[in-house]
Symmetry: C2
Subunit: 123 residues, 2 copies
DNA sequence: CTTGACTCCGTACTCAGCTACAGGGTCTAT
DNA sequence: ATAGACCCTGTAGCTGAGTACGGAGTCAAG
């Protein structure tokens, strides 16, 4: 559980192609490089941000190894950027709403309506 | 599909207590107020940000109707704020990483390593 | 040189979050 | 007043993301 992830989960990611099969010891045990561990942590963080494993797979493949594929990569990267920017905006709003709620709390001003909904209302 | 959500999903949220049972027509048909629709949209957005339905339920219940419960609400709000702030930071990093990638693309500089992982590496 | 805690593999189960039925009622349009 | 497209209920099934199990091998500690 080096990275807070059970071995079973790792095997599962391996099967899904999110983690490449690592080198093995003579006895067949998996041996992970620090990079592989980073990759794993990235997966977990990205999940917390609402990305599916499939989307995370896409993200991890965004790299420019050949100039040829550059255009396609750029396009997909821009798409992801769009969705991330939207998530950012939504999160910022949610944060503001919660800050207001805490503020009202501290000021001991009961507000029976839900400030979170009010804040987020306009899309 | 007024809010891009099927009726079955709505019934499901109702069962889970995320949406209160709406008033019905004489024939038993659900009738939703604009507020209920907002609530529904909030749920979908929050899901996209990586919150579970249970967490979303918590968020929706964060309101200060009684001065008595104020302390508890404040505490939970602060907790949520913490996780949101963290999500924000992670998203910002991911965004920066993607922007760099697009930049490299535009400059036609192939980089065989994955800038996303590099950027995010240090936790 | 054995005990306990780990790993291996394949398969099967679980849980959240939908999604689809079946068998009925209702509403609108023709 | 009948067809077609909706809604109602309850229950069953599906997908994504793990999690556990069983039978076997491995390894460090005592």
């Amino acid at each position: 559980m080096s990275a807070g992830v059970g071995i079973e989960t790792i095997r599962f990611y391996e099967r899904k192609g999110l983690l490449l099969e690592p080198p093995r010891t003579a006895a067949g045990y998996r041996q992970y490089s620090p990079e592989a561990v980073e990759r794993l942590k990235f997966i977990r963080r990205a999940q917390g941000l609402g990305f599916t494993l499939e989307e995370i797979g896409d993200l991890l493949e965004l790299r420019v190894d050949e100039v040829a594929a550059c255009g396609a990569v750029e396009m997909r990267a821009r798409e992801k950027l769009k969705s991330i920017t939207q998530k950012l905006n939504e999160l910022r709003r949610l944060k503001r709403a919660l800050e207001r709620l805490v503020g009202a709390c501290v000021a001991r001003e009961p507000t029976s309506d839900c400030p979170i909904l009010e804040e987020i209302e306009d899309r």
